[in-house]
Structure formats: structure tokens, C-alpha cells
């Protein structure tokens, strides 16, 4: 009832009309978004309440929340969730810290700046398949570079470490890979954000006798805060969506389905076991969780942005 009154309220109508400029700007993007993202999203959301029959959709059985119940009660899903959370908690701060250092360094007037920028960007463009394989090779137990360095060169260990066959140890190469591949991505964004800081602020600070550290913490960081918010949100989402590296390095949760990430489990259930209900329920649990986390992050971190 209240809603109805609100719509009928003249001032509300006026507001909408006066904001038609904004809607016009949103129109093309929202057109794409509704057609190719939102509609598919609703479609596969429906899937999560059915025992889905992909050949004859009419023959699918409505099963209510039972797919969700199955997922939540599955110990493999719980383990996959824990792995994913650990991965995210390790890779997000890792990426941001290193990226911040790299971005600040790359922002100096130094010789060979383009070279350094390209060098840090290279891991971003190299395909996940290839770099995952190379990390696997480096961490291989029999012929790997890491064991070669640790055992044969530095003599730190006397037995070759089985990095990839232990469900806990395998997280180390996976996390290192995640950080290694992500630094350049975040650094580029931060580097771009640093450009928007007015130089006269630094000049004023220098005249006031401020040091480097002071400038970074009192000028740089506060001014790129919107970008940092963006990075935290996007990297957390990316962390929860970790997929290809896990799939390849753990061969889909090996050993013993203990090293799954949420998405490798989802993919295996959907496309290897044809359990579309389980797969979509997993995806929506994941999306709901990330959504809540992101909203909290944005609300908490954004507060100070408004000038």
C-alpha cells in the first residue's frame, strides 16, 4: 500500500522524469546485462530447485530446497568451502600488499619504466593453463625445480617434498600461483589510480617537511581509497571463484576429494556427474555468500570516500 502511494506521489514521478538522463546512460549497458546475464541468472536459479532433465526440461521434477540441503550436508562441499576461504584469505592481502609496493615503485620517474611495467604485467597475460602447469612442474616431487633447490642446492631438506599429493601442502603452490599471477593485475589498477592524485598535494607536503612514509599514508592511501575498495571486493570475488588452477593442479580435488575448491566441485558435479541441481545450488550458495560479503565490504570501506 505504501509503495503504491509512493509511486502515485507526484514528486516521485517528477524525480524519475528528471533522472531520465541517468536511465538513458544506463540503457545500453542494462540491455546487454539483462539479456545475457540477468535472464540466464534467473534461469539457472530455477534449475537449483529441480532434478533437472536437460533433454526434456518439462520432465524435470521440482524438489524444493533438497539440492541445497544435499550441498550443505556434503562433507566434500564443506571441505571445499574451507579450502576456498583459506585461499581467499591468503591471496587477497598478498596481492594487494605486493601490488601496492609495485605500483608505488612503478610510479617513480625511473629508467626503463615501460620495461618494468610490462614485466610485472606478463604473469597476468600468460594463460592459466600454462602457468598452472609450470607451477606444477616446479613443485613436482620427482623432477621439480623447488625440490631441486631445497634439497640439492641448499640442502635444507633431505627428502623430496611431495607438494602436490598432500591435500594441505598442495595449497601452497596454489596460493603462491594465485598471488604471483594477481600482483600485476592489481598493480596496474593501482598505478592508474595513483595518476589521479593531484601532484600539488605532494608538493605542499614536501614544503611542510613531510617524509615519504607520511606522504604514502596521509595522501596516497586515503585518496585511492575508492580503488582499494574496488580491489578488495573484486579480489575476494576472484578468490572465491578460483577454478582453473585448482582443477589442473589437483586433477579435480585429488587426492580423496580433499583439495576441491567450491567451483571445481561444482564443475565436476555438473558436467562430469550430470547433477545440474547440485551444481546450480552450489553456485547460488556461493553467489549469495559473496554478495553479502561484498555489500559488507563496500559499506564498511566506502564510508569515508564522500568528500
Amino acid at each position: 500500500m505504501e509503495v503504491k502511494n509512493k509511486i502515485l506521489d507526484k514528486s516521485f514521478l517528477k524525480k524519475i522524469l528528471s533522472s531520465k538522463g541517468a536511465y538513458l546512460l544506463l540503457l545500453p549497458g542494462m540491455g546487454f546485462f539483462f539479456t545475457f546475464i540477468l535472464f540466464p541468472l534467473i534461469y539457472s536459479f530455477r534449475m537449483s530447485f529441480y532434478k533437472w532433465n536437460i533433454v526434456d526440461i518439462g520432465a524435470s521434477n521440482f524438489v524444493g530446497f533438497s539440492n541445497y540441503v544435499r550441498v550443505i550436508n556434503d562433507p566434500i562441499f564443506i571441505r571445499a568451502t574451507l579450502n576456498t576461504i583459506v585461499y581467499t584469505l591468503m591471496t587477497v592481502p598478498g596481492q594487494i600488499l605486493f601490488a601496492l609496493v609495485v605500483a608505488i615503485l612503478l610510479n617513480q620517474k625511473i629508467k626503463g619504466r615501460t620495461f618494468f611495467r610490462v614485466a610485472y604485467y606478463i604473469p597476468v597475460i600468460t594463460s592459466w593453463v600454462v602457468v598452472t602447469f609450470l607451477f606444477e612442474y616446479f613443485f613436482g616431487s620427482q623432477a621439480g625445480l623447488v625440490n631441486f633447490i631445497l634439497r640439492d642446492m641448499l640442502h635444507l631438506v633431505d627428502k623430496k617434498i611431495m607438494w602436490l599429493t598432500d591435500p594441505i601442502l598442495v595449497m601452497i603452490p596454489l596460493i603462491l600461483l594465485g598471488i604471483w599471477k594477481g600482483i600485476g593485475w592489481s598493480a596496474i589498477i593501482l598505478l592508474a589510480a595513483l595518476q589521479s592524485i593531484p601532484l600539488d598535494l605532494y608538493e605542499a607536503a614536501t614544503i611542510d617537511g613531510a617524509g615519504i612514509w607520511h606522504k604514502i599514508t596521509k595522501i596516497t592511501l586515503p585518496l585511492i581509497r575508492p580503488t582499494l575498495v574496488f580491489l578488495v571486493v573484486v579480489l575476494v570475488i576472484g578468490g572465491f571463484n578460483v577454478y582453473i588452477s585448482g582443477l589442473l593442479m589437483t586433477k579435480g580435488g585429488k587426492p580423496l576429494d580433499l583439495s576441491h575448491f567450491i567451483l571445481t566441485l561444482m564443475y565436476k558435479k555438473t558436467f562430469t556427474y550430470l547433477d545440474f541441481g547440485y551444481g546450480s545450488a552450489t553456485s547460488y550458495l556461493l553467489a549469495a555468500f559473496i554478495f553479502v560479503v561484498s555489500v559488507i565490504e563496500i559499506k564498511l570501506l566506502r564510508r569515508k570516500v564522500e568528500y
Partner: protein, 411 residues
């Protein structure tokens, strides 16, 4: 302006008519596969022969990436865009049949019985699900023993082991873990890897009617088979490669003198030839177990026709043609093993096929069941538990049996 419109309409009519004309004249049958370059070249020859014989049909092959083939098919099925025909890994046929995506060929294909009368029973059986055949065996394969002759000679052995006991004994002789040298290596713990030894020693996953796994996967012979492998691993005569630690691959290890024996499929020959031209490839039958009725494992691919196809009649002709002697021989020359018993020993086929054909006579197919992928996972996990010493062989297989029974009931 008017003239332009008339001109455009005229053009549209003409092109429209020619398009209709072509559509009436030629039917296009799509065929998806996951072949490599050599096979694809042979396939193109087969297509040429087919199109010569059936002038009104055009075959349009599409090559897909193996790892993403099943998802691509499933998405196509869900979206109502399926190929007319495809060459599928034999283990996918029951699950696609179960969801109703495939045509039951024994019902719809003329002369089906005559065709399968000439094919090997092992590969043919992989098309069978719930009373019907959903495909034709297009090519087959099995695993056999590949051994490094130089290593055997240096160890003073006259030839490859013939029985499982000799196999275990020989493997132990080679092992020198400090130098990463092992008597035997397998590529993983998925069921396919130990399947040859498992079946050779009389192991079974379920009963033949697929109603229970109790007394089969955890039966005496299955337990003995896995026990033998676990013992070899403990003795360090089986390479730790199978745990998946990113070690030296089986082919590389065999060719470079790290592994004395591996058990692999016919692709071993071209792979070893191209990567290690100096290595002499030697095949032998999988060592015999105490009971010789079964040995090794059947692999390969089946050609199927999809329910969503608009050109089923033409698709049937193509599927049948793939089972003709000429196409089987042409593909056979490129390294895929024929399923027709009538071409066995044909001089056009490579010599190394003989030992595979011999092995195939007693090779056994994995459980043809829609839930096989999950059963495989259960056995895989059981194997990992044993190797890690977290469960005894019996315990691990008991648990696997329980899991497989659950999958059978779920259907």
C-alpha cells in the same frame, strides 16, 4: 528507387530459390569427434569415400577438445543444438543414453544385427544400456605391457614377465629409488590405470547384471589385486608417480630408462616413436593372473546418433559406413584400432596391432553404467586410502562397495 527495390527482390528470390534447391539436394550430417591430426587426415579420406557413394549427403566433421567435449555436448543438448552423430568415449554412452539423448540403434537401424555380428563382443557391449544398444563400436583399444628391452637385457632377463608373479618379481629387481628407477609405473590412481592388472587377477567391480558391488569390488580376487599393487608400492618397485605428484611421465620414464615396464594403450607406439625416435618399442601381453579368463581392460570410442538430430536416416548411413571394412582399415592405418573381427590381421594394419588384438580377446569392459564416473571416483579414492596407509585394502574396498551400491540404487 522502384527499380532498385524490384532488383533487390529479384535477387532475394533467386538466392532464396537456389538455397532451397541446395537444401533439397544435399543433407548435411554433422559429426563431432576428438581426433588428433593423423586420425583427422584419415577421417577426411573416409568422408570423401562416403560422399562419393552418397552424393546427396555431406558430412561436416567438428573437432572438439577432449577435456571439454562432454560439457560442450551437454550444453548443446540443453540448448537443443546437437550434432547428428558423434564419436564418444565408451564410458559416456550409458549416461547419455540414460538421459534420453541417444537413439536406440537396435530398434531404429536397419541391419544392426548383421553389423554387430562382425564386431568384437567386448567393445560392442559398451553400447548396451537397459535392454538396448545406443551406439556402434567405432574403434577399440586395450592396454598391454610396454617394456624397456635394454633394461631387461642389462638385468640379465631374457624377456618380459608372463605371469603376475614373475611381473612382481622382475619389477622388484629393477627398483633403485635413489636414482628414481622403478620396475613399474602407472600414471594415476583412476581405475583405468591399474585396470589391466586388476582384471588379469580376476578382479570384478560388480556382478554382470550391475545389481551389487558387494562380494565383487571387495571380493577376494579384487582385494588380492589391489594388495599386490600396494605391496609393490611399499617395496618401491612401483613408482610414486601414481600419486600424482608431478613426477616423470610414463612414456618419458620408460624411454629414458627410469621405468622398466608400463602398461599402456596403442597410442604408446606413435608417441614414443615421435618423441624418442631412438627408443625401441616392445610390446607384450599383460602378465597372466592365476585365472586366465579375463585380462586387461577395453577402451575406445563408439559412434552414436542423437535424438535431437533432424537427419537420422542419413546419420545412420554414416554410422554404418564407419563400420565398413574400408573405413575401418583406413582409420586403422592412422592408429585407431578396428572393431571388426573380419579385418583382423589385414596387411594394411600395422604389425603392432596383433598383440593388442590378442589381448582384446580376453579384455573386459568397465561397468557400463550412467554413474560410472562416480564409481570410478569411489575406487580411485579407495586406492588412495590404501597407498596412504589410511585404510587396509579390505577396508577401503568395503567402503567403495558400499558407495557403488548406493550409486546403483540411485540409478
Amino acid at each position: 528507387m522502384k527499380r532498385l527495390i524490384i532488383f533487390l527482390i529479384a535477387i532475394m528470390l533467386i538466392t532464396g530459390m537456389t538455397l532451397v534447391g541446395i537444401a533439397e539436394e544435399k543433407v548435411t550430417v554433422t559429426y563431432w569427434h576428438t581426433m588428433g591430426d593423423t586420425e583427422e587426415a584419415a577421417l577426411n579420406k573416409v568422408i570423401e569415400m562416403f560422399e562419393e557413394q552418397y552424393a546427396n549427403i555431406k558430412i561436416k566433421p567438428t573437432r572438439m577438445a577432449y577435456d571439454d567435449f562432454k560439457p560442450a555436448l551437454l550444453i548443446g543438448i540443453a540448448g537443443g543444438v546437437v550434432p547428428d552423430t558423434a564419436r564418444l568415449d565408451i564410458i559416456w554412452v550409458p549416461e547419455l543414453a540414460e538421459i534420453g539423448a541417444l537413439v536406440a540403434l537396435d530398434e531404429k537401424m536397419e541391419g544392426f544385427d548383421e553389423i554387430i555380428a562382425n564386431t568384437y563382443p567386448g567393445p560392442t557391449s559398451t553400447n548396451f544400456w537397459k535392454g538396448h544398444y545406443y551406439g556402434l563400436p567405432q574403434n577399440t583399444c586395450t592396454q598391454i605391457l610396454v617394456w624397456n628391452k635394454q633394461m631387461f637385457e642389462e638385468a640379465g632377463l631374457s624377456g618380459p614377465p608372463e605371469t603376475i608373479d614373475e611381473f612382481v618379481e622382475d619389477a622388484a629387481m629393477f627398483s633403485n629409488p635413489d636414482e628414481e628407477i622403478y620396475g613399474y609405473a602407472m600414471g594415476g590412481t583412476y581405475f583405468w590405470a591399474p585396470a589391466s592388472i586388476f582384471y588379469a587377477m580376476g578382479g570384478e567391480v560388480t556382478d554382470s547384471g550391475i545389481t551389487t558391488a558387494t562380494g565383487y569390488i571387495n571380493g577376494e580376487k579384487s582385494v588380492a589385486a589391489y594388495q599386490a599393487l600396494v605391496d609393490m608400492y611399499r617395496d618401491e618397485s612401483l613408482s610414486p608417480l601414481l600419486l600424482g605428484g608431478g613426477g616423470i611421465g610414463v612414456f618419458e620414464g620408460l624411454a629414458t630408462g627410469k621405468y622398466a615396464m608400463i602398461i599402456e594403450g596403442p597410442w604408446a607406439q606413435p608417441i614414443l616413436n615421435s618423441d624418442y625416435p631412438d627408443f625401441e618399442v616392445n610390446f607384450a601381453l599383460v602378465p597372466r593372473g592365476p585365472d586366465v579368463t579375463t585380462s586387461s581392460v577395453v577402451g575406445g570410442e563408439n559412434v552414436v546418433i542423437f535424438e535431437g538430430s533432424q537427419n537420422k536416416d542419413e546419420a545412420m548411413l554414416w554410422a554404418k559406413f564407419l563400420l565398413s571394412e574400408e573405413s575401418q582399415l583406413t582409420m586403422g592405418e592412422a592408429g585407431t584400432m578396428p572393431t571388426l573381427s573380419t579385418v583382423q590381421g589385414n596387411e594394411r594394419l600395422p604389425e603392432y596391432y596383433d598383440v593388442f588384438m590378442e589381448q582384446l580377446k580376453t579384455a573386459k569392459a568397465r561397468v557400463p553404467h550412467p554413474k560410472w564416473a562416480e564409481m570410478d571416483n569411489a575406487i580411485n579414492n579407495a586406492y588412495q586410502y590404501m597407498l596412504r596407509d589410511e585404510k587396509t585394502v579390505q577396508q577401503a574396498l568395503d567402503d567403495a562397495a558400499e558407495e557403488i551400491n548406493r550409486l546403483i540404487i540411485e540409478g
